[in-house]
Point group: D2
Chain length 150, copies 4
């Protein structure tokens, strides 16, 4: 996957993580499509894999470094419905990072034909256990900063 990702990244010049998921029955609703709120869970999956990709395990970021990447704003635009058992790709990019503010962007596309399903953004504040704003320590901030859009 790395090789292919690298190739893609050559094209658009910005790093992103691509994670594949399959739509669960539990995620659908009675309209026969994925319930709109569940896309935010997939954004979380993408965000966590983005961080893993650049060397962070988010669980340890919380437990060891006491940095909690708290959501302050979330947005999703729904382009075409996702259905049960569809394979989807979540593409996660870092859009902004300055001080305690981090913003991720997401694209969700069908794995079979690349058709757009949804895109969105989440904005975060880095906080400690007591929900007090704090900066990321350099060992986390530096690799993140390297993935900012050029």
């Amino acid at each position: 996957m790395d090789g292919w990702l690298a190739r893609v990244n050559d094209v658009d010049d910005n790093f992103y993580n691509e994670t594949k998921i399959r739509v669960r029955y539990a995620e659908t609703d009675r309209m026969g499509v994925v319930y709109y709120g569940n896309f935010f869970t997939w954004f979380e999956v993408g965000r966590v894999e983005f961080l893993r990709d650049i060397g962070f395990r988010y669980r340890e970021v919380e437990e060891v470094d006491d940095c909690h990447i708290v959501v302050v704003e979330a947005q999703c635009r729904y382009r075409s419905p996702a259905r049960y058992d569809d394979e989807l790709l979540i593409r996660t990019r870092l859009k902004h990072f300055r001080g305690p503010v981090v913003r991720f962007g997401y694209e969700i596309v069908r794995a079979d034909n690349g058709a757009e399903v949804a895109d969105g953004e989440t904005t975060h504040l880095v906080c400690d256990r007591q929900m007090k704003v704090r900066p990321l320590p350099p060992k986390l901030a530096d690799p993140l900063r390297e993935r900012l859009p050029k």
Copy 2:
């Protein structure tokens, strides 16, 4: 509740529905607060009660009138954390309605002290069963139009 709502509405001059919920254990995450994606479920609850309040049962709108109020965009801003067993008020307003496009706005506040928890918006397209855009029939469009902001 109607009387009190009426009073509130005199003040801000625009109709809104207010629905009370209690945070479920299932809705929290390991940070000890409500998972960010679950606010969109509460927006749905508010939206459905707004419609019930002005005379629609959304289930029948789907089943009898073949009108599906499909989400095309959703957004939430998180002001302060919601915690397990908190009682919250969801205030839902109609923000825009023209042709097949409907937009709702939401405020979520603590029931005990009115403190802001979150606010957001959802934008919808009215579609039929086949996801083809269609207008709402007048019996549904008219009561909705009356609740547009003045």
Copy 3:
């Protein structure tokens, strides 16, 4: 509601809590009925309201008394489908309580005609924050014991 509950309780001689919920769109799946895993969330809602009814606020039981009623077994039998916007009653009873072991029973029925939707059980161990088994303190154990089936 208290008066009516009391009457019912005279009949079957055992205490139970009855809590009304309305099925959310988010809780349905593409079969058009409630996803089977969501009944366990409703059991949680019933359990928490049962405890509130006999004087406990479960949040404080966790936070103040450091007693966590951890699930060790859960079971549900599905009698008839629950659909979007249905109003349902969750009836929760204490079935067993000895030492650190607590078992609740649940019946879910339609609010309009009393038809059975599901029933089930959950078995719990009382634990502290470190997941070590501990007994409930008397102030919590005594009111619970009074609600054991006669």
Copy 4:
């Protein structure tokens, strides 16, 4: 994976599917562990991959063959907590299949050390779109019957 599965199957002589998942933040609750109801979503994931493994795509079973494998009973025993970001294996076996009744068994273990996390069962009735009980057609029943425990 097939080769390794075959080896395991030589040992216990019964076919099972093994599917790996990673615990999502959304699946945890404020106790810091996975919410008990979410295990049933994982059972669904295991069940669907079991069926895929033996040649069924469950989505087509529903859409093309009008066979809905409706849950009539579900049970889970919780052995040890699952935590955020844990990798887990879901092992799904067919336990019973006769006429319209199908029963699956599940074991969930940690991927790193094989420690038991949970096990359970779900019992199903095969129904058509109208929730009327019907048998599976032979093309589906035969491969299923071959995976019954010996």
